[in-house]
Amino acid sequence: MHKIAAVNDFVIKFANINGTGSASANNMFAKSIFRSGVPVTPKNIFPSNIQGLPTWYEVRVSEKGYLGRRGGVDFMVATNGQTMMQDFQEVLPGGYFLYDNSKPLAPKYKRDDIHLIGIPLTDICIQEYTDPRQRQLFKNIIYVGALSYLLNIEFEVFAELVQDQFKGKEKLITPNIHALELGYRYAKEYYAETCQLKIERRDLNQGKILVDGNTGTALGAIYAGATVAGWYPITPSTSVVDAFEKYCKRLRVDPANGMNNFAIVQAEDELAAMGMVLGASWNGARAFTATSGPGVSLMAEFLGLAYFAEIPGVLVDVQRTGPSTGMPTRTQQSDIMAAAYASHGDTKHVCLYPANPKECFDMSFNAFELTEYLQTPVIILSDLDLGMNDNMCDAFEWNDEIDYNRGKVLSTDELENLKERWGRYLDVDGEGIGYRTIPGTHPTKGSYFTRGSSHDEYAAYTESSEAYVRSMQRLEKKWDTAKTLVPKPNIRIENKQSKVGAIFFGTSTDAAHEAIDLMQQQNVSVNGLQIKAFPFTAEVEAFIAQHDTIFVIEQNRDGQMKTLLVNELQLDPARLTSVLNYDGMPITATYIVEQIEATINQNKVTPLQQADRG
């Protein structure tokens, strides 16, 4: 019988029940591969519930460094009776199915194209442990131990991981290592030659880290000097603020007096969260909030205020599957329009689209710089896939020389020495951005009234048509300035001659790059561009101009980024072909290739069909 054989290139999936402690065991597994120097991409597929429902953990191992989702399962670790049949079916022919054989498999589990690996997890636990909680927890560690043997992962790597994990709770180390050994030994005894999937040590992860995007965003905010966070819990954004708090407590507590150089307030809802951000930013602090789709909808009114009254503020939108409550624990890139054009009236907002935790970190810093310089809100659009999963990327970097650019803020001295009459909304530099003042700066100069109603250059209330139009036109000028300041795209030219280009952003990036490689292997050269920001910079426009056929790869139904491109750059929509995946699971390279090749070959696309990505 065929056996899938591969070194450092396979997908293993764990089927568990949430709330049973599998998460930390599975994380340890992924990290063991990372520490073996082999690129790895774990993805959590979890329910919108707390305990007792099916949850999966899908780990892709790729020596070539492909970090997108691959699809297909080579090795299944099936510990959840509720989904066992479905998990059983999902294994690719020639693949492996690890299960708890304390009870024999029911006869309906019949496939002769896959390899069964039975480990009596329950029996071992009953034998070894008396405490029921321990019996449950160590089951997970035992299968990880078995995998160490089966996949040839150095046992020492696990030993070290256990040590790191239980730093401070040392007495847990020995039992965990013991449990690993139980699994290892059992596998060795009964499945010595079974598995042809192997991990071999490499040194491919130099300078890399394995971390979730939300942590990257949070650290970026810390390094950017954000001091105020107002927020409201919502999956998958909650861990942005959790991480911010965690690191603030480590890094921002004044050693002299134990007091906090930060303030985090759990608001009563998202409207309040955004209000806090605007109040704090108006008052000269760097402030942010994090939310997901429903929160963005609720913040629309405040975002319009910030646009029109020109108040900074950073909003992190960790997107999930919409509309409405949708699938709160599934991923999507579907708040693109809601963010870019949030609020009534003529409004548009600067958006950043990070693709990995490093970009989360960098763009989080960027966001604070931009929002203060441009005096307009900046929205970071991450998503569940990036935010809540560990993603491999370059280590975070910080240049100690860089100073914060707080934008056009008048100091006490500058106010004192003002020669001309100051106007909050006067466009002194021709950039469309006025000079602002922070309350309390000067006893007699620089006070003004901030309002969402129409105002003139001196911040006075006005119902003058002319004054209104002037300010709306200046906001357009500011928008043009923004185009020159936001991060430029990442361009990849496979072939200068090629007239086919692919545009992608955020978590479609890794899969898109892999797809470009795959197509190149078939001698189809596709150039690539990763959008990093809205509004689009000149480079985006130029790239589109240089290619006849452009694919826009995104994870939503309506081709929202395409809409932005068409609308903002006044492009013929016929020039852009959408490649859309919106089923809540991260997009795969195979799917992209299928879609693009279908178009190239037949010059015909069926973008709204859902592909089989087995």
Binding site: A267, E268, F396, F449, G452
Partner: protein
């Protein structure tokens, strides 16, 4: 249009301890209706800040949307103001305060702004005990949108439209007391004598201070059947007592009739001296305050004056343990952990 500026300007205008005249605390011309209660409250705020010798630029004026919320443009023109969106001033004030704990935050709102669309934010800013003065210019109606009943309109009260309000009304003072505010008072726009010392004490109080000021809307809700009309309030107002605000520097000589006069020292060292009209009210007891308010309501009376005072409640910053330097004044050195630390953090992700 009414004017809250004084009409006469002497060359020898009174100056306060900072050397400022009242003019330094004035704002733009009011565009409210002549006789609107709100203008009197603006004048009282102006007068209080002048007399307290607060530096105007150390005050931030926050508001929502409504006739009432426009007023911050009409006083303290040398202070920054923020006219935000309808009902959401509390969150904006919270953010502002988090960023700089050293300013005086004066929030002005309407009853629609606070008790309808803003009810949630109001409840939550109270329970966080944000250090601010929150003044509700309470006219029982939506002035700016032409007189609809608000949630503070008493059941049975009728505005210009003539239809008695069928719903139960929200008593913002009771709500605030229940949710833990340390300073709660009710007043009347027509009673400057009471209002000014209350505002001064509220500014001096550290933590959330609510003053719910009945402020008749002459255009839409000053009718014979309205319980928020000038006449009604004047006739049914019953004060908890008279009230002096004693600034820190004045020597506090304790000489009052026992039982009826009480003196409470505020966080900043100033004090309020209360000459109680009723012995049954214990200013330090939430239960007593709520009881007293309800008792008067049952009699059809509006209990005004200080209702509850606890000068010792920790404000949001104390609850959060925020550092004493305003957060907006911390520089990169204090805030940015630097590249070395980042290296260590990176290692934890390996």
């Amino acid at each position: 249009m009414s004017f809250i500026r004084p009409n006469i300007r002497h060359p020898q205008l009174a100056v306060n301890d900072l050397g400022y005249t009242r003019a330094n605390y004035e704002g733009a011309l009011s565009t409210l209706c002549a006789g609107c209660g709100h203008d009197s409250i603006s004048a009282a705020i102006l007068q209080s800040c002048f007399e307290l010798s607060i530096e105007p630029h150390k005050v931030a004026k926050m508001s929502g949307i409504g006739c009432s919320s426009k007023t911050p443009a009409y006083f303290l023109g040398n202070s920054h103001g923020f006219n935000s969106v309808h009902g959401r001033m509390p969150s904006v004030a919270t953010g502002a305060n988090l960023a700089n704990r050293d300013l005086v935050y004066i929030g002005v709102s309407g009853d629609g702004d606070t008790a309808s669309i803003g009810m949630g934010q109001f409840a939550h800013v109270v329970r966080r005990n944000l250090n601010m003065v929150y003044i509700v210019m309470n006219n029982g109606c939506y002035g700016l949108t032409k007189g609809q009943d608000s949630a503070t309109a008493d059941r049975g009260s009728a505005s210009k439209k003539g239809i008695p309000n069928p719903y139960s009304s929200i008593d913002l003072c009771e709500t605030a007391i229940q949710l833990g505010a340390g300073f709660v008072a009710r007043s009347f726009s027509g009673d400057k004598e009471q209002l000014i010392p209350l505002i001064k004490a509220a500014v001096s109080h550290r933590g959330f201070a609510l003053i719910d000021v009945v402020s008749p809307c002459v255009t839409f809700n000053n009718t014979a059947n309205s319980t928020k009309s000038y006449d009604h309030v004047r006739e049914h107002m019953n004060a908890t007592g008279t009230f002096d605000f004693v600034p820190l520097k004045e020597e506090i000589t304790t000489e009052y009739e026992p039982g009826q006069t009480e003196e409470i020292t505020l966080h900043d060292g100033s004090a309020v001296r209360l000459h109680k009209a009723t012995e049954s009210l214990d200013f330090s007891s939430r239960r007593s305050a709520m009881n007293e308010i309800e008792k008067h309501k049952e009699k059809g009376e509006v209990l005004t004056g200080l209702l509850y005072l606890n000068p010792q409640t920790p404000d949001t910053h104390e609850l959060l343990g925020t550092t004493t330097t305003p957060l907006n004044q911390l520089d990169k050195d204090k805030l940015c952990p630097g590249s070395k630390t980042l290296d260590a953090i990176n290692d934890s992700f390996r």
